[in-house]
Subunit: 141 residues, 2 copies
DNA sequence: CGGAATCCTAACCGATACTG
DNA sequence: CAGTATCGGTTAGGATTCCG
Protein backbone atom coordinates (compact mmCIF):
# COMPACT_ATOMS: atom_id res chain seq x y z
CA UNK A 1 0.00 0.00 0.00
CA UNK A 2 1.91 2.96 -1.32
CA UNK A 3 -0.34 5.75 -0.16
CA UNK A 4 -2.22 5.95 3.11
CA UNK A 5 -4.32 8.80 4.38
CA UNK A 6 -3.45 10.41 7.70
CA UNK A 7 -6.68 9.12 9.21
CA UNK A 8 -5.89 5.63 7.99
CA UNK A 9 -2.40 5.75 9.44
CA UNK A 10 -3.78 6.92 12.74
CA UNK A 11 -6.31 4.11 12.80
CA UNK A 12 -3.58 1.56 12.21
CA UNK A 13 -1.36 3.08 14.85
CA UNK A 14 -4.19 2.73 17.32
CA UNK A 15 -4.44 -0.96 16.71
CA UNK A 16 -0.69 -1.32 17.04
CA UNK A 17 -0.45 0.21 20.49
CA UNK A 18 -1.60 -2.09 23.27
CA UNK A 19 -1.36 -0.91 26.86
CA UNK A 20 -1.57 -4.48 28.14
CA UNK A 21 1.90 -5.17 26.80
CA UNK A 22 4.67 -4.27 29.22
CA UNK A 23 6.97 -3.19 26.39
CA UNK A 24 4.42 -1.00 24.61
CA UNK A 25 5.06 2.76 24.85
CA UNK A 26 1.36 3.31 25.54
CA UNK A 27 1.72 1.13 28.63
CA UNK A 28 4.37 3.41 30.05
CA UNK A 29 2.21 6.38 29.13
CA UNK A 30 -0.76 4.84 30.91
CA UNK A 31 1.43 4.23 33.95
CA UNK A 32 2.32 7.92 34.00
CA UNK A 33 -1.28 9.01 33.63
CA UNK A 34 -2.35 6.64 36.40
CA UNK A 35 -0.84 8.98 38.94
CA UNK A 36 -2.69 10.79 41.68
CA UNK A 37 -0.97 14.12 41.07
CA UNK A 38 -1.42 13.96 37.31
CA UNK A 39 -5.14 13.40 37.77
CA UNK A 40 -5.51 16.18 40.33
CA UNK A 41 -3.43 18.72 38.39
CA UNK A 42 -5.46 18.13 35.26
CA UNK A 43 -8.69 18.45 37.24
CA UNK A 44 -7.52 21.69 38.79
CA UNK A 45 -6.45 23.22 35.47
CA UNK A 46 -9.65 21.96 33.87
CA UNK A 47 -11.62 24.11 36.24
CA UNK A 48 -12.84 21.53 38.74
CA UNK A 49 -13.29 22.98 42.15
CA UNK A 50 -13.54 26.53 40.89
CA UNK A 51 -17.27 26.29 40.52
CA UNK A 52 -16.80 26.74 36.80
CA UNK A 53 -15.79 23.34 35.49
CA UNK A 54 -14.87 22.92 31.85
CA UNK A 55 -13.63 26.47 31.64
CA UNK A 56 -9.93 25.84 31.31
CA UNK A 57 -8.34 28.32 33.65
CA UNK A 58 -4.78 29.49 33.76
CA UNK A 59 -3.38 28.94 37.23
CA UNK A 60 -0.28 30.12 39.00
CA UNK A 61 2.09 27.72 40.71
CA UNK A 62 1.01 28.86 44.14
CA UNK A 63 -2.67 28.50 43.26
CA UNK A 64 -2.11 24.90 42.24
CA UNK A 65 -0.13 24.23 45.40
CA UNK A 66 -2.99 25.60 47.47
CA UNK A 67 -5.74 23.70 45.68
CA UNK A 68 -3.90 20.37 45.69
CA UNK A 69 -3.78 20.15 49.44
CA UNK A 70 -0.93 18.03 50.68
CA UNK A 71 1.26 18.08 47.58
CA UNK A 72 4.93 18.79 48.16
CA UNK A 73 6.85 21.33 46.08
CA UNK A 74 8.92 18.55 44.65
CA UNK A 75 6.01 16.43 43.44
CA UNK A 76 4.08 19.40 42.09
CA UNK A 77 7.04 20.70 40.09
CA UNK A 78 7.92 17.22 38.90
CA UNK A 79 4.36 16.56 37.79
CA UNK A 80 4.06 19.90 36.03
CA UNK A 81 7.33 19.34 34.18
CA UNK A 82 6.28 15.97 32.86
CA UNK A 83 2.88 17.29 31.79
CA UNK A 84 4.58 20.17 30.00
CA UNK A 85 7.02 17.80 28.30
CA UNK A 86 4.13 15.65 27.11
CA UNK A 87 2.36 18.68 25.65
CA UNK A 88 -0.60 18.49 28.04
CA UNK A 89 -0.02 21.87 29.64
CA UNK A 90 1.80 25.10 28.78
CA UNK A 91 4.11 26.96 31.14
CA UNK A 92 4.21 30.73 30.80
CA UNK A 93 6.77 32.83 32.64
CA UNK A 94 6.04 36.51 33.16
CA UNK A 95 9.20 38.43 34.16
CA UNK A 96 7.68 40.40 36.98
CA UNK A 97 9.53 40.79 40.28
CA UNK A 98 9.24 38.29 41.68
CA UNK A 99 8.59 36.09 38.68
CA UNK A 100 5.07 34.89 37.83
CA UNK A 101 4.48 31.45 36.31
CA UNK A 102 1.17 30.33 34.84
CA UNK A 103 0.07 26.88 33.78
CA UNK A 104 -2.75 26.11 31.38
CA UNK A 105 -4.18 23.06 29.65
CA UNK A 106 -3.43 22.59 25.97
CA UNK A 107 -6.09 21.15 23.67
CA UNK A 108 -4.44 17.77 24.17
CA UNK A 109 -4.54 18.21 27.93
CA UNK A 110 -8.14 19.31 27.76
CA UNK A 111 -9.08 16.11 25.94
CA UNK A 112 -7.48 14.02 28.69
CA UNK A 113 -9.14 16.16 31.34
CA UNK A 114 -12.50 14.92 30.09
CA UNK A 115 -11.48 11.52 31.43
CA UNK A 116 -9.63 12.50 34.62
CA UNK A 117 -12.61 14.62 35.56
CA UNK A 118 -14.82 11.54 35.33
CA UNK A 119 -12.42 9.67 37.56
CA UNK A 120 -12.57 12.34 40.26
CA UNK A 121 -16.34 12.65 39.97
CA UNK A 122 -16.73 8.89 40.16
CA UNK A 123 -14.65 8.73 43.33
CA UNK A 124 -16.75 11.43 44.99
CA UNK A 125 -20.08 10.05 43.81
CA UNK A 126 -19.42 6.46 44.89
CA UNK A 127 -17.49 7.03 48.09
CA UNK A 128 -20.43 5.99 50.26
CA UNK A 129 -21.03 2.92 48.15
CA UNK A 130 -17.41 1.87 48.44
CA UNK A 131 -17.33 2.45 52.17
CA UNK A 132 -20.34 0.20 52.65
CA UNK A 133 -18.68 -2.60 50.72
CA UNK A 134 -15.50 -2.17 52.77
CA UNK A 135 -17.38 -2.37 56.04
CA UNK A 136 -19.19 -5.46 54.85
CA UNK A 137 -15.98 -7.10 53.64
CA UNK A 138 -14.09 -6.33 56.84
CA UNK A 139 -16.94 -7.59 59.01
CA UNK A 140 -16.86 -10.93 57.20
CA UNK A 141 -13.17 -11.51 57.96
CA UNK B 1 -34.37 19.35 58.56
CA UNK B 2 -35.80 16.33 60.29
CA UNK B 3 -36.54 14.14 57.29
CA UNK B 4 -34.45 13.78 54.19
CA UNK B 5 -34.95 11.40 51.30
CA UNK B 6 -32.19 8.97 50.47
CA UNK B 7 -31.67 10.67 47.13
CA UNK B 8 -31.40 14.03 48.81
CA UNK B 9 -28.88 12.72 51.31
CA UNK B 10 -26.86 11.26 48.51
CA UNK B 11 -26.89 14.52 46.60
CA UNK B 12 -25.67 16.36 49.63
CA UNK B 13 -22.97 13.81 50.30
CA UNK B 14 -21.67 14.30 46.78
CA UNK B 15 -21.19 17.98 47.35
CA UNK B 16 -19.47 17.27 50.64
CA UNK B 17 -16.82 14.98 49.20
CA UNK B 18 -13.96 16.86 47.59
CA UNK B 19 -11.03 14.91 46.21
CA UNK B 20 -8.81 17.99 46.31
CA UNK B 21 -8.74 17.83 50.09
CA UNK B 22 -6.03 15.62 51.50
CA UNK B 23 -8.22 14.53 54.39
CA UNK B 24 -11.29 13.69 52.29
CA UNK B 25 -12.05 9.95 51.95
CA UNK B 26 -12.71 10.45 48.24
CA UNK B 27 -9.15 11.70 47.90
CA UNK B 28 -7.77 8.44 49.25
CA UNK B 29 -10.16 6.57 47.00
CA UNK B 30 -8.97 8.53 43.99
CA UNK B 31 -5.39 7.75 44.96
CA UNK B 32 -6.21 4.05 44.96
CA UNK B 33 -7.97 4.24 41.61
CA UNK B 34 -5.05 6.16 40.13
CA UNK B 35 -3.03 2.98 40.04
CA UNK B 36 -1.69 1.27 36.98
CA UNK B 37 -2.77 -2.20 38.01
CA UNK B 38 -6.24 -1.09 39.04
CA UNK B 39 -6.76 0.49 35.64
CA UNK B 40 -5.42 -2.52 33.76
CA UNK B 41 -7.35 -5.10 35.79
CA UNK B 42 -10.61 -3.24 35.25
CA UNK B 43 -9.87 -2.94 31.55
CA UNK B 44 -9.14 -6.65 31.31
CA UNK B 45 -12.30 -7.67 33.16
CA UNK B 46 -14.30 -5.15 31.15
CA UNK B 47 -13.42 -7.02 28.01
CA UNK B 48 -10.72 -4.81 26.55
CA UNK B 49 -8.22 -6.74 24.54
CA UNK B 50 -10.55 -9.64 23.99
CA UNK B 51 -11.92 -8.14 20.84
CA UNK B 52 -15.30 -7.91 22.56
CA UNK B 53 -15.10 -4.81 24.71
CA UNK B 54 -18.02 -3.94 26.96
CA UNK B 55 -18.90 -7.57 27.39
CA UNK B 56 -17.89 -8.08 30.98
CA UNK B 57 -16.10 -11.38 31.00
CA UNK B 58 -15.32 -13.60 33.90
CA UNK B 59 -11.61 -14.31 34.01
CA UNK B 60 -9.46 -16.75 35.90
CA UNK B 61 -6.46 -15.65 37.92
CA UNK B 62 -4.05 -17.11 35.40
CA UNK B 63 -5.82 -15.42 32.50
CA UNK B 64 -5.44 -12.07 34.19
CA UNK B 65 -1.79 -12.76 34.94
CA UNK B 66 -1.21 -13.56 31.30
CA UNK B 67 -3.02 -10.55 29.89
CA UNK B 68 -1.42 -8.07 32.29
CA UNK B 69 2.07 -8.72 31.05
CA UNK B 70 4.69 -7.93 33.62
CA UNK B 71 2.52 -7.99 36.73
CA UNK B 72 3.89 -9.92 39.69
CA UNK B 73 1.77 -12.40 41.66
CA UNK B 74 1.99 -10.16 44.65
CA UNK B 75 0.70 -7.04 42.92
CA UNK B 76 -2.02 -8.89 41.03
CA UNK B 77 -3.34 -10.59 44.17
CA UNK B 78 -3.07 -7.40 46.18
CA UNK B 79 -4.92 -5.41 43.51
CA UNK B 80 -7.65 -8.02 43.16
CA UNK B 81 -8.18 -8.15 46.93
CA UNK B 82 -8.61 -4.40 47.22
CA UNK B 83 -10.98 -4.32 44.26
CA UNK B 84 -13.02 -7.11 45.83
CA UNK B 85 -13.07 -5.32 49.16
CA UNK B 86 -14.32 -2.16 47.47
CA UNK B 87 -17.11 -4.10 45.76
CA UNK B 88 -15.78 -3.53 42.24
CA UNK B 89 -15.23 -7.19 41.44
CA UNK B 90 -16.46 -10.55 42.68
CA UNK B 91 -14.25 -13.50 43.48
CA UNK B 92 -15.70 -16.95 42.86
CA UNK B 93 -13.97 -20.10 44.01
CA UNK B 94 -14.88 -23.39 42.34
CA UNK B 95 -13.66 -26.39 44.37
CA UNK B 96 -12.21 -28.35 41.50
CA UNK B 97 -8.81 -30.01 41.81
CA UNK B 98 -6.82 -27.89 41.58
CA UNK B 99 -9.02 -25.02 42.63
CA UNK B 100 -10.45 -22.60 40.07
CA UNK B 101 -10.92 -18.92 40.87
CA UNK B 102 -12.85 -16.50 38.68
CA UNK B 103 -13.04 -12.74 38.86
CA UNK B 104 -15.80 -10.61 37.38
CA UNK B 105 -16.83 -6.98 37.42
CA UNK B 106 -19.79 -5.98 39.57
CA UNK B 107 -22.17 -3.31 38.33
CA UNK B 108 -20.19 -0.82 40.37
CA UNK B 109 -16.97 -2.00 38.79
CA UNK B 110 -18.53 -1.85 35.37
CA UNK B 111 -19.44 1.78 35.89
CA UNK B 112 -15.84 2.62 36.77
CA UNK B 113 -14.61 0.58 33.84
CA UNK B 114 -16.35 3.05 31.53
CA UNK B 115 -13.77 5.58 32.68
CA UNK B 116 -10.66 3.41 32.96
CA UNK B 117 -11.35 2.19 29.46
CA UNK B 118 -11.26 5.76 28.21
CA UNK B 119 -7.95 6.25 29.97
CA UNK B 120 -6.39 3.26 28.26
CA UNK B 121 -7.87 4.20 24.89
CA UNK B 122 -6.64 7.77 25.27
CA UNK B 123 -3.12 6.57 25.99
CA UNK B 124 -3.09 4.38 22.92
CA UNK B 125 -4.71 6.95 20.65
CA UNK B 126 -2.44 9.83 21.61
CA UNK B 127 0.85 7.99 22.02
CA UNK B 128 2.26 9.41 18.79
CA UNK B 129 1.14 12.91 19.70
CA UNK B 130 2.80 12.67 23.09
CA UNK B 131 6.02 11.30 21.64
CA UNK B 132 6.25 14.25 19.23
CA UNK B 133 5.90 16.70 22.08
CA UNK B 134 8.54 14.87 24.08
CA UNK B 135 11.00 14.93 21.19
CA UNK B 136 10.34 18.62 20.68
CA UNK B 137 10.74 19.39 24.38
CA UNK B 138 13.94 17.39 24.71
CA UNK B 139 15.43 18.98 21.62
CA UNK B 140 14.85 22.43 23.08
CA UNK B 141 16.84 21.66 26.23
C1' DC C 1 7.51 33.63 43.78
C1' DG C 2 8.84 29.55 41.81
C1' DG C 3 11.71 26.81 41.73
C1' DA C 4 16.61 23.48 42.03
C1' DA C 5 19.58 20.49 44.79
C1' DT C 6 20.53 17.49 48.55
C1' DC C 7 19.62 14.15 51.97
C1' DC C 8 17.06 10.60 53.89
C1' DT C 9 13.38 7.15 55.11
C1' DA C 10 9.20 4.86 54.27
C1' DA C 11 6.72 2.26 50.96
C1' DC C 12 6.45 -0.20 47.15
C1' DC C 13 7.38 -3.95 44.73
C1' DG C 14 9.90 -7.96 42.67
C1' DA C 15 12.00 -12.43 43.64
C1' DT C 16 11.93 -16.50 46.04
C1' DA C 17 10.23 -20.19 48.74
C1' DC C 18 6.41 -22.57 50.59
C1' DT C 19 1.21 -24.27 50.86
C1' DG C 20 -3.75 -26.16 50.34
C1' DC D 1 -3.89 -23.49 40.19
C1' DA D 2 -4.01 -19.80 43.11
C1' DG D 3 -2.44 -18.18 46.28
C1' DT D 4 0.56 -16.71 51.26
C1' DA D 5 4.84 -15.29 53.65
C1' DT D 6 9.23 -13.37 53.97
C1' DC D 7 13.18 -10.78 52.59
C1' DG D 8 15.67 -7.28 50.36
C1' DG D 9 16.56 -3.65 46.76
C1' DT D 10 14.72 0.26 44.47
C1' DT D 11 12.45 4.29 44.41
C1' DA D 12 8.87 7.47 45.36
C1' DG D 13 8.51 11.28 47.80
C1' DG D 14 8.90 14.43 52.18
C1' DA D 15 11.84 17.85 54.66
C1' DT D 16 15.22 21.11 54.34
C1' DT D 17 18.24 24.44 52.35
C1' DC D 18 19.60 27.61 48.89
C1' DC D 19 18.93 30.54 44.55
C1' DG D 20 17.41 33.90 40.49
Amino acid sequence: MATMSAARKRAQAKTEYNAFLAVCPSRRLLDRLSDRWVVLVLCALGGDGTGHPDVATSMRYSELARQLAGVSQKMLTQTLRSLERDGLITRTVTPTVPVTVDYELTDLGLSLYQTTRQLRTWAQDHMDDIQEHRDEYDAAQ
